[in-house]
């Protein structure tokens, strides 16, 4: 109960940020929340199953495109609903077709999926509508986008919390540890994976839909940028994908670091970033939180010795 009160208080405090923060900190806040949502949603499925998905930006981009297409036709809340539905349908199709794949095959497939979705959108726009760039003119300022992302993040964390406590979360962890054992235990592997995959993808789609009005102009090359997928993976891995706040703990410092690097080392950004990624994978393979835990236990064990 205390924890719930605490969580609500934190949420209320964060919701007040736009009243005090200037435009630049608010922009940072939007970036942090955006990546926080994506990384948490990514870890919800990929953490326990250990299926590394590079399809994040495919769903993110679909959400943004749905808003671009429908913004003038439907009221905004309905547009978000449609976006979530589009994400769900695509996730179900993709999930049914591919969740039987494992390991490196799944990674490659999800990477290909992004390119496939991007090319399909391009093909449709070029040959059917004959407009490639789309304009999003919605009366939504940065603070509105911030609040929506904050709400989405709260919902995502709540779902992730529920999953980690519920039977489905346990089932997923068993599948991740050993699919053969899982099937012998009577776990419906495909259905479990599909459910979690769909929830995670719908959240990513919404994250894209909410951020679309910030760009005004949308093209496949803008919203289906594969870098986003890689950044999300590295953020979740840094924080620790198997903990509730792990991905968020990776997203916040990394995002601020990227921002600091691009402000101070605009010409060496890519080099530093590459070195950093290598360092994370080598030094902290299980994430910051896990590394902190193991360090803690090592220290306490040493103290316990006579």
């Amino acid at each position: 109960m205390m924890k719930l009160v605490f969580a609500l208080a934190a949420l209320a405090a964060l919701a007040l940020v736009p009243a005090f923060a200037g435009p630049y900190p608010l922009g940072l806040g939007i970036g942090i929340l955006g990546y926080g949502v994506l990384a948490t949603a990514w870890a919800m499925f990929s953490g326990p199953t250990r299926y590394i998905s590079l399809a994040t930006v495919a769903f993110f981009g679909l959400g943004a495109y749905t808003v671009a297409v429908l913004a003038d036709m439907l009221p905004y809340p309905l547009v978000l609903l449609v976006a979530a539905f589009v994400g769900l349908v695509v996730a179900l199709i993709v999930g049914l077709a591919t969740l039987r794949l494992a390991g490196i095959y799944f990674v490659i497939f999800t990477f290909g999926l992004t390119e496939l979705v991007r090319q399909l959108v391009t093909y449709y726009e070029v040959n059917v509508t004959r407009t490639l760039g789309r304009y999003v003119f919605l009366p939504l300022g940065p603070e509105h986008i911030y609040w929506q992302l904050l709400a989405l993040l709260a919902a995502t964390l709540a779902i992730a919390f529920w999953v980690s406590r519920a039977r489905i979360g346990l089932a997923l962890r068993v599948i991740g540890d050993d699919p053969v054992v899982a099937s012998h235990l009577g776990i419906r592997i495909t259905r479990t994976k599909l459910t979690l995959f769909s929830i995670s993808c719908v959240i990513m789609t919404l994250a894209g839909a909410i951020q679309a009005p910030r760009w005004t102009y949308i093209e496949p090359s803008i919203v289906f940028n594969p870098t986003t997928s890689f950044l999300v993976v590295i953020m979740a891995l840094l924080g620790g994908p198997n903990r509730l706040f792990g991905p968020l703990l990776g997203a916040v410092p990394l995002f601020l670091l990227f921002e600091w690097l691009s402000a101070n080392f605009p010409n060496h950004y890519s080099i530093i970033l590459g070195l950093l990624f290598i360092a994370i994978v080598f030094v902290l393979p299980n994430g910051v939180l896990a590394a902190g835990d193991s360090l803690w236990s090592r220290l306490t064990r040493r103290e316990a010795r006579p």
Partner: protein, 410 residues
């Protein structure tokens, strides 16, 4: 668990607050030592090549020119002030760009912000420029939406026309050639399936049909195509005198080479972005002569020739013959507007940009509804220069050479 989240967020806020404190000290007019020019441009990523030709060299040249001349004369402050530059890499990402412009406006306190390269980035940063009240000189954005955009964002200026301007001018030019009997009625169009190609082909297709041309080929090819043999082979058997490609730089070069290899040498050979690049004659060799494309310059202008020389001396490469001169002219306009106002008063400077007349490398410029409507639309390589054949307001600087010289085998 909740404490972690709160602490994390507070850390984040702490870092940004620190950043604000460090870089956000206000600059007072009396202790001004420079005028701060900020820009975020794509130094890496998909847009880097275009920005490296049309945008960045002109920003460098302008800053160099102004500082060599002793800075900008600000009558209300009574001293000439040099320009200082804050630059960022937007990594060809709209999200990065928007945040970089916010950073330039609120953290770096830039006095003026120069735009990024390309249509998408200029549109993406439009609301941000407008919100902070910075004039935005969109010299590399081609959009038919400009009349609507200027109503939406009062500080925006659109200087490179829209797809219709270029497509219609090409069709008018070809109609004259057909009436003169130099070309037949058949036209083939290949367009890149991306912003520029689609915008132009969408405008050109109905325009060609209305003018009575027969479009025997009108297809798109995916962005990133590298083998153009199938397109050229198909088109070369159709008996067209006019080949039009609304292409991007790598395609523009590859289409030229493939046409030479296949010995497909139509009387009118028109290509998209990249034709006006200074490297095009190097890539096409002797075959560049007579190739048409988007853009063009006035080959008789002494001012422009001097600009070409200064640009080449500073950057080691000549400017392109489409957006480069317009980009530089937009900076001259900004400079003259600042000096006329005599102070860093962005609202007054924006008003001056809208209503004033400016003397630039592309001649006298006066904007119409915040848009540059005086543009070269069709150009052709003649005697080593990409000369303007068609202009929205004046006559062509040279007559078109049709048919173009037959390809020389490489």
């Amino acid at each position: 668990m909740t404490t972690i989240s709160r602490r994390t967020v507070l850390q984040g806020m702490g870092v940004s607050a620190l950043a604000t404190a460090l870089s956000g000290l206000p600059v007072l007019a009396q202790d001004r030592t420079a005028i701060r020019i900020g820009y975020a441009v794509p130094k890496t990523g998909a847009n880097a090549a275009g920005a490296g030709i049309s945008t960045i060299p002109n920003y460098l040249l302008w800053v160099d020119d102004v500082n060599k001349a002793g800075g900008l004369e600000l009558s209300k402050l009574g001293v000439p002030l040099p320009l200082e530059v804050v630059e960022y890499d937007d990594r060809s990402s709209s999200e990065e760009l928007v945040r970089a412009v916010e950073r330039l406006a609120t953290q770096d306190n830039a006095d003026f912000i120069l735009p990024s390269w390309g249509t998408g980035p200029n549109l993406a940063s439009g609301p941000t420029f407008d919100r902070f009240g910075y004039p935005q000189l969109g010299a590399t954005a081609v959009t038919d939406m400009a009349p609507d955009l200027v109503k939406r964002w009062k500080h925006s200026f659109w200087l490179l026309g829209g797809g219709h301007d270029y497509a219609n001018a090409l069709v008018q030019l070809l109609v004259k050639q057909r009436e003169a009997g130099t070309i037949n009625n058949k036209v083939a169009i290949a367009s890149v399936a991306d912003g520029f190609g689609i915008d132009l082909s969408k405008a050109a297709t109905p325009s060609f049909t209305e003018a009575g041309f027969e479009l025997v080929y009108d297809k798109t090819y995916p962005l990133g195509t590298s083998d153009f043999a199938p397109i050229i082979n198909e088109v070369s058997g159709l008996g067209v005198d006019t080949f039009v490609a609304f292409s991007y730089p790598p395609d523009t070069f590859a289409l030229t080479q493939q046409s030479v290899v296949a010995n497909f040498s139509p009387k009118v050979f028109y290509l998209g972005v990249g034709t006006a690049f200074p490297i095009y004659p190097g890539i096409a060799g002797p075959n560049h002569d007579g190739v048409m494309g988007v853009g063009g310059i006035d080959p008789d202008s002494e001012k422009l020739a001097a600009y070409f020389e200064r640009h080449t001396a500073l950057n080691g490469q000549a400017p392109d013959s489409w957006a480069s001169a317009i980009t530089y002219a937009s900076l001259e306009m900004l400079q003259q507007a600042i000096e006329r106002v005599g102070d860093i008063d962005r609202e007054a400077i924006t008003a001056e940009l809208s209503s004033g007349e400016f003397d630039t490398v592309i001649g006298k410029v006066k904007l119409v509804d915040n848009q540059l409507r005086s543009l070269w639309t069709v150009g052709q390589w003649q005697g080593g220069k990409f000369v303007g054949l068609a202009h929205t307001e004046r006559d062509g600087s040279r007559d078109p050479v049709v048919p173009k010289p037959v390809w020389v085998a490489a």
